[in-house]
Amino acid sequence: MNEIIFIIIAVSALGIFALPKRSQYYLMLGTQIFLAALTGYLMYLSFNRIEPLQIYLFDLLGNDVSLVIDSLSAFFIFVINITVLTGALYAKGYLKPYLRDKTRLEMAWHYFNFLILHISLLMVAMLREGISFLVFWELMSVSVFFLIIFESEKQENKEAGIKFLIQMHVAFYFIIAAFIICSIATGQNIGFESLEQYFKDYPAFPVFLLFFIGFGIKAGFIPLHTWLIHAHPAAPSHISGIMSGVIIKMGIYGIVRVLTYIHSDLMPIGVFILIISIISGIFGVTIAIVQHDYKKLLAYHSIENIGIIGIGIGIGVMGLAINNPVLASLGFAGGLLHVLNHALFKSLLFYAAGSIYQQTHTRNIENLGGLMKKMPSTAVFFLLGAAAISGLPPFNGFISEFLIYTSLFKSLMVSDSILSVTLLAGIVALAVIGGLAVFCFTKVFSIIFLGTARSDKTRHSHEVRSSMLFPKFIIAILIIMIGIMPFMMLRPMSFVAGVFVDDTSSLRDMTGTMSGISLSLSLLIVFIGILFFIKLKLSKVRHTDIGSTWGCAYTGSDPALHQYSATSYAEYIIMKAKILVGVKKHFRYLTKENIFPGESYFKTGSSDVFEDNLVSRPAGGLLSFMEKIAVFQTGNIQHYLLYAIVFVIVISIISIFGII
């Protein structure tokens, strides 16, 4: 049976190369649906089992490699399949304009990598044996690299891809190092199984830290996030959505998987995760506000949401540490539910962003405006995603944040004073993050969709084809469903939290609260519906004038110039956030020579302080050092022969005098 499935997948993956350009996509989609159905079935089998489901695959260097699926894996399989499938559906329309310019091989390579990515994501979530896990982990990074540089004719995309590849390998070494330490110390094979024994015998924190850095680079915790903010904008939008939706979540998966084996040092680990997450959350959203590139902005929001997820997990770990099942289950359930929620609304936002990019060919929000009239459906989906990511009811972001808030407030009651301060910081941070996120999305939405178009391309854009709207529709339905029927998620989340804690009854006790939420939200929706209906009726009776957007009656060449710009809207926050974001202004002073001043310009840009100091500066230093050394590399054969002779002479002198 296994062999047949292997052969089917391998044949269809390679078959992509044999097909003509237009049918490659369907083979990829078909294979992905097959994969999703297969893993979906496994997920169904494994949910709510006490013992994880094990399927023997093959023998690798004397080790049994098998799929091990517990509720945690099953949960991630669900997230992966949902996001990848909607991404694949969306890709059809998104890639259409590229079909003309790209060769058959280039398209096939893209689809092939997409498929490999799906497979490796699923395998990473299911494998426990070390070597095969690492192979698929690496395969995941490499396939993503090729997906990022799809538009490799642009230099910045290539650079972003290479940045990604380098940082993924740094991460990879940390993970390998951690695995090897565990393996050597316990004498077991490399793999997650060895962790159990290791963490029993040795202090957990140092090795956990290695794992955290390794997986944390993938997840994008600040200050390990610098690849993410370049890779997300560079990748084609269906890939950005998947990257933000699941690939960075595999970092979270790695961290929580490691956490399942840790039973000591839990308190410092919990506090550590909480603090890093608070920093990621607040810094992520603050830097996001400053961004002009909407995809980069969404990338910073991914960091913020990783922070929110981390806060939940941190609370969960602290709950384990003080042996409080209520805390632990609520924290883990909240954090991990946010993994799903973030995958949903972030991919929705990225798909909407992709639609905007396809129509306007710009990623700078200062060139957009007035798109609500041109692309009404995209606008509605974007607004829905924006409301969800800001944690507003009645959408799913609210539910997971509610769980995390509940756990934080509950933990305040049981903890001692020093701990309380940390937890209080968590509550404040979550509130601040929420507020700033709302601010940020009012900015993005209003600048992109409201007002008047700020460029010609924007003026002539229109709604995308329905094949690009359909996947957004599916995601939107899921977002609303989780939002207004949160009790539905309690049972599955209690299974997931059950991987960490035995007693998850507190989650099930939330059913009453969740039903209350659901009832009040339904009432809210009904109320809004009634208001809307009344408005509709009234506006039918009354005469409505339709005119252009009010721009202070500015009669200059371009009325768009008179609108709020993204920078002016966010000016206050930009001023406050100067330590985090280096805001740079480039301009020429006006000269006084003539009565009418000549042409001038003004440009602002921002940079990430962490990236400047942790990556750019050391890398720059290394590069200039290398350049100094490169004086020896003259390209002249005589010089190289001279080096060889000098080397031989030096060696012989050394050996004559018996130094070596």
């Binding site: 005469h543 004038d545 005119g547 009010w550 009656a553 500015y554 009669t555």
Partner: protein
């Protein structure tokens, strides 16, 4: 605290308690009165004297206060025949009523010309957007004063707002210069209907001293009916407030 109370006491009552019955200083130049028909020669002289062609001869001698800049030169030239009173209620909604003739004791309002929806919708709240279409800032100052603590027209629900989107009408000052003509049109179009159009100051009503300037472009006024003319150069806040109250029927 005591210091503040002292200051308050020192300042006394700041606001004008009765906006409709307030009496202005005799020095104020309000409604002119023609006590006696000037002679032919005098009329001739006055026409030459008047800087803004406000002297009307068709249908008998008269002064068009829609054109008059209240310089008082005519009254000084014929002190027995022309006099300026301190009556500030000189606004009307009918252009013909702006001409003062012998025997007139008030500027009449044409009640029939008032649109019914103006009374119905704006009686309790009227938000206005001001457009200075080449104004000299005098009328604008007075309009500003209409909303301050002294005159406080806000007590009747009349206010100036920042955007035409929030406004029920537009108040124009200035002779409408070419450079402001398009902006005025955009602003008018951006105001949701039903809306009122109010002209404040001689410049706005007739172009005043600038009516023959090539920089003035007044086609806008041909297109839309004007609801209220508020003469004055500049118009007094009490003139403006009483005019608006009259218009909305308060």
């Amino acid at each position: 605290m005591i210091k503040e109370i002292k200051i308050l006491k020192q300042h006394g009552i700041q606001y004008v308690p009765d906006l409709k019955g307030a009496v202005l200083t005799p020095l104020f130049r309000g409604r002119p009165v023609i006590k006696e028909q000037p002679s032919e020669a005098e009329t001739e002289m006055l026409i030459r004297l008047c800087p803004s062609d406000a002297i009307v001869t068709v249908g008998g001698f008269g002064i068009d206060i829609g054109k008059c800049v209240f310089c008082k030169e005519c009254a000084l030239a014929c002190p027995n025949k022309i006099e300026f009173t301190n009556d500030y209620k000189i606004a009307t909604n009918d252009l013909n009523n702006l001409i003062v003739r012998q025997g007139d004791s008030e500027i009449k309002f044409n009640e029939e010309k008032i649109r019914p929806e103006v009374r119905k919708l704006f009686k309790n709240a009227l938000k206005l957007r001001q457009v200075s279409a080449g104004g000299d800032n005098s009328c604008e100052f007075e309009l500003n004063a209409s909303g301050n603590v002294n005159f406080d027209m806000g007590r009747y629900g009349i206010e100036f707002v920042a955007s035409p989107r929030h406004a029920d009408g537009i108040v124009i000052t200035g002779p409408i210069t070419e450079n402001m003509a398009e902006a005025l049109q955009i602003c008018w179009d951006a105001t949701p209907g039903p809306k009122v159009l109010i002209l404040v100051g001689t410049d706005a009503i007739s172009g005043g001293m600038f009516k023959n300037s090539p920089a003035v472009k007044r086609e806008f006024l041909d297109k839309y009916p004007v609801d209220l003319y508020v003469p004055g150069n500049p118009a007094h806040p009490l003139t403006f407030i009483n005019a608006v109250l009259r218009l909305i029927g308060k």
